[in-house]
């Protein structure tokens, strides 16, 4: 009988590069920057790492195929290295692979590293690219904001939400993340904005405006995982362990079956239900100290609050406007600035979220340090609202 992942694996060390427009860096430089911080933090030597997973979301652009980029970048000692691509969940997926490797007893030390180098593209936003030979025959030629804007249409229709109220709540989401990002020296965007600025920004994909979109960035983040016992034997205190790791992938029901109404992410709901069970969480709004969710767009964060059970269905607009998820709110969300301001180098994002959790649990988050956080949830969403992958990780203090 499977018992789940809870408390079987500890994070021994983490690192994260500065995110942003890293014009002067190769992907290998970003990987090295994150890794050097991580290996120093872990207190082991590179040769002790027994397996590694590299996460890159759009490998056809820049970083390149296979796992060779990571092995080459760090001159890893000919260990098994595997590349993982699972849309925006890639980083969390690499972490899941490394965690499972340790939990299985296959190795004592495993590395998960996510990297993306998007700013060589020559234009803002994500690279316009093929969706596959057959999909290109019929898929609309979408942009990412275009597909996520569908959530706003579905949400407004379902709850008869006033479009102005929804836009204001979306603006609040972004204002909050900018305020948080301003306190994070590694964040891509470190300036505060006003609600008025967010509301009046140029339209990208109705009703998503410029400030409703996350930054597209260069960056890398990584984690070395081991068992709690080994971590203790290495003299570690404030050990952070994995409480749950779940993934849910669409099978075509949302896009092909007359049920889904476009107002929520079905996969997130499936994944989080399993994650709460795995972590033993009964009342997430009370038990979770913080969340880092996939705020690729402000509307995504807003509906995710409902998908995670932190707001009642139809209640996120009010909760957001009431400041429930602000830095000083009941369950702070994106305390590091989120995808919105920390930035979104796709493959690195899941690990960047875990990095913030890890710092917070160890009291190392500087100006944005929360008071006594114990349990946190990270969430990634890749693909489209109607056809996607959702990953959930719950991590916390080993004693939580």
């Amino acid at each position: 009988m499977a018992t789940g992942i809870k408390d079987k694996v500890a994070i021994l060390g983490m690192g994260c590069s500065k995110f942003g427009e890293r014009w002067d860096c190769e992907p290998a430089d970003l990987m090295a920057e994150a890794f050097e911080e991580c290996i120093k933090d872990a207190g082991i030597e590179k040769k002790q790492i027994e397996a590694a997973w590299q996460a890159t979301g759009i490998d056809t652009f820049n970083v390149g195929p296979g796992a060779i980029p990571l092995s080459m970048a760090l001159r890893l000692p000919n260990i098994p290295v595997t590349k993982i691509e699972n849309y925006c969940a890639s980083g969390t997926e690499a972490f899941r692979a490394a965690t499972y490797a340790v939990a299985s007893g296959a190795c004592d030390f495993a590395l998960a590293l996510g990297v993306e180098k998007l700013k060589d593209m020559g234009y803002g936003g994500l690279p316009q690219r093929s969706r596959g030979v057959t999909n290109d025959l019929h898929f609309p030629n979408v942009s990412a904001p275009g597909v996520f804007a569908q959530l706003a249409a579905g949400y407004t229709a379902k709850y008869s939400t006033n479009k102005e109220d929804l836009k204001r709540a979306m603006a609040h989401v972004s204002v909050k993340s900018h305020a948080n990002g301003a306190k994070n020296p590694k964040a891509h965007l470190q300036r505060s904005i006003t609600e008025d600025q967010a509301m009046r920004a140029p339209m990208i994909a109705e009703p998503i405006g410029l400030f409703d979109c996350c930054g597209v960035s260069d960056g890398a983040a990584c984690a070395i995982v081991t068992t709690p016992e080994i971590a203790k034997s290495l003299g570690k205190h404030d050990i952070v362990t994995v409480k749950a790791l779940q993934l849910c992938v669409s099978n075509g029901e949302e896009v092909g079956f007359n049920d889904w109404d476009g107002s929520y992410i079905a996969t997130t709901r499936h994944a989080v239900k399993r994650a709460y069970a795995e972590a033993g969480i009964k009342n997430p709004r009370e038990e979770l100290s913080m969340t880092e969710v996939h705020d690729c767009f402000s509307i995504t964060e807003l509906v995710t609050m409902e998908d995670l059970g932190l707001s009642a269905d139809g209640g996120a607009v009010k909760d957001v406007l009431d400041g429930v998820f602000d830095a000083d709110g009941e369950v702070p969300c994106q305390i590091d600035g989120g995808l919105k301001c920390f930035g979104h180098p796709i493959g690195a994002s899941g690990l960047r979220m875990l990095y913030e959790m890890y710092l917070q649990f160890q009291g190392r988050a500087g100006e944005r340090q929360l008071s006594d956080p114990r349990l946190g949830l990270t969430h990634n969403l890749g693909g489209f609202p109607y056809q996607n992958v959702s990953s959930i990780a719950v991590v916390g203090r080993h004693d939580a």
Binding site: G125, Q128, V133, L137, H138, P145, G146, I204, Q387
Partner: protein, 482 residues
């Protein structure tokens, strides 16, 4: 009795105001201002001779009629030199392609009247029981020319057969004459024409009367018997001059739609015929003339059934559905008349993988989905396993036609970021009445009336243009029901 059994038409909704062409180019050629009356129908970026032919034939056939067993496509502006347009149109109409005759007729302004004659012969020979003849033109014209002022885009379709004939075929007479009033050479994008006065005096006024009189003589009729005289020409005064010379009544002469549609080339005789058929009364004699390196003359008599088969929209319906467009730059962009920067997002390789296109043609060309024989769930595209999570049965998907389905928009956006020839790109989730849903492009959006919940139908449109290889692929887009 052999004759016309149904008719239909299609005009693009975009109606370019001719004034904007004259305003932009009048400094260069003041004579354009004299032609700047009214508007002309012009293709959106995702319309061409194929998509308009599908629309016109659908308008003619009515929803779900698959009984036609021959289809002839007539055009001088089809997107391919070697790929039979009539086959694409037949597949998009979901005709029974395992037993069908198809052909393209081209290279003359009388291509459609010639196609009509071939179709009548096929029907008379009982080589097919119902023949679709469709004329369709997406006309390319050079900037600041008379042709730019006068040409328009559109399509018209007829079905021919011997059941429920609404206009009986009486007789025809054809001539050939290498009178080169204009030409378009291999590799040329535009027509090159000769002096109008010569075309009028030596062409229309000599070639047409000779052929018409030969037909009238054969049919033992006089010009005064003709109730509808259909002659397509971009010379506004020619029909009346010919009428006078032939002895036709003034009422018989069909309006050339110069100020509402523009001259739709080879399609125009069929378009004018479809327009007159809307007005024809039983026993009316209808004379159709096709002019171009000779002359086709074809005579019909309306039967008592003339009012029994009307198109969904017809020419009148499509005339009323126009939307005035005053953006000349947009027309120029859609017709590649500008060396326009499309931005880096347009640089993605648009290769069409013909193997995959062929495998998926029931879905992509025919818009066929599937219905589960175990639980009745409709889904599109077809899949091995049923999408209903309560069912999930394998190999239970029966092909299910959905090109006539209507549905509503459940989610949508207007995407300003992605590349589109006509931004913003509208797309969204369409939920079909009776089951099935699909994330799809939405075309012809009127932002004033469009929102979640609006009713939509699906229409065959250009999906993507691969300008690197000269290929284009087609798919269906949702369009708000008017």
């Amino acid at each position: 009795m052999i004759g016309i059994t149904a008719y239909g038409a299609y005009l693009p909704r975009m109606r370019l105001q001719k004034k904007v062409i004259a305003d932009a180019n009048g400094w260069f050629d003041a004579s354009l201002k004299g032609l700047a009356r009214g508007e002309k129908a012009v293709c959106n970026w995702d319309e061409d001779a194929i998509t308009m032919a599908v629309e016109a034939a659908s308008d003619c056939l009515g929803a779900g009629d698959k009984s036609a067993d021959a289809l002839i496509f007539a055009s001088t502006s089809g997107p391919f030199l070697d790929r039979q347009h009539s086959v694409v149109v037949a597949e998009a109409l979901n005709l029974e392609i395992d037993a069908i005759r198809t052909a393209d007729v081209t290279a003359s302004q009388r291509a459609a009247t010639s196609a009509l004659l071939f179709g009548l012969d096929i029907a008379a020979a009982k080589s097919a029981s119902q023949v679709v003849v469709v004329g369709s033109e997406h006309r390319r014209t050079q900037v600041a020319t008379r042709e730019e002022m006068l040409y328009g885009d559109g399509a018209a379709a007829l079905t021919l057969g011997n059941n429920n004939v609404i206009a009986e075929y009486i007789d025809s007479h054809c001539t050939a004459d290498d009178f080169v009033d204009h030409y378009r050479a291999d590799g040329s994008k535009y027509d090159y024409g000769w002096e109008e006065r010569w075309v009028r005096d030596e062409g229309y006024m000599k070639i047409v009367p000779k052929a018409v009189n030969a037909l009238l003589e054969k049919a033992q009729l006089t010009a005064a018997d003709i109730k509808h005289f259909v002659l397509a020409t971009d010379q506004g005064r020619v029909p009346a001059m010919l009428g006078k010379a032939l002895g036709l009544s003034g009422e018989a002469i069909a309006d050339n739609l110069l100020e509402s549609v523009g001259i739709t080339g080879a399609a125009h005789p069929l378009l004018l015929l479809a327009h007159r058929l809307e007005q024809a009364q039983p026993n009316d004699l209808i004379l159709v003339v096709g002019f171009g390196q000779g002359c086709d003359t074809i005579l019909f008599r309306a039967t008592d059934a003339i009012g029994s088969k009307t198109p969904q929209y017809g020419v009148s319906g499509h005339l009323a559905r126009g939307r005035a467009e005053e953006n000349y730059n947009k027309f120029q962009s859609f017709n590649e008349l500008l060396d326009k920067g499309l931005g880096k997002r347009a640089e993605v390789d648009k290769q069409s993988f013909l193997t995959a296109m062929y495998r998926n043609r029931a879905f992509t060309t025919g818009f066929k989905g599937a219905k589960c024989s175990a639980c009745g769930t409709v889904q599109i595209p077809k899949h091995k396993y049923c999408v209903n999570p309560e069912c999930g049965a394998g190999d239970t998907q029966d092909e299910h036609p959905m090109s006539n389905a209507v549905g509503h928009v459940a989610t949508w956006t207007a995407d300003e970021l992605t590349f589109d020839f006509n931004p913003p790109a509208y797309f969204g989730m369409v939920v079909f009445d009776g089951g099935g849903r699909l994330m799809m492009d939405i075309a012809e959006v009127d932002p004033e009336t469009f929102d979640t919940g609006v009713q939509v139908g699906v229409h065959f449109r250009v999906k993507q243009i691969d300008s690197q290889r000269g290929f284009r692929k087609y798919f269906w887009k949702a369009i708000q029901v008017q």
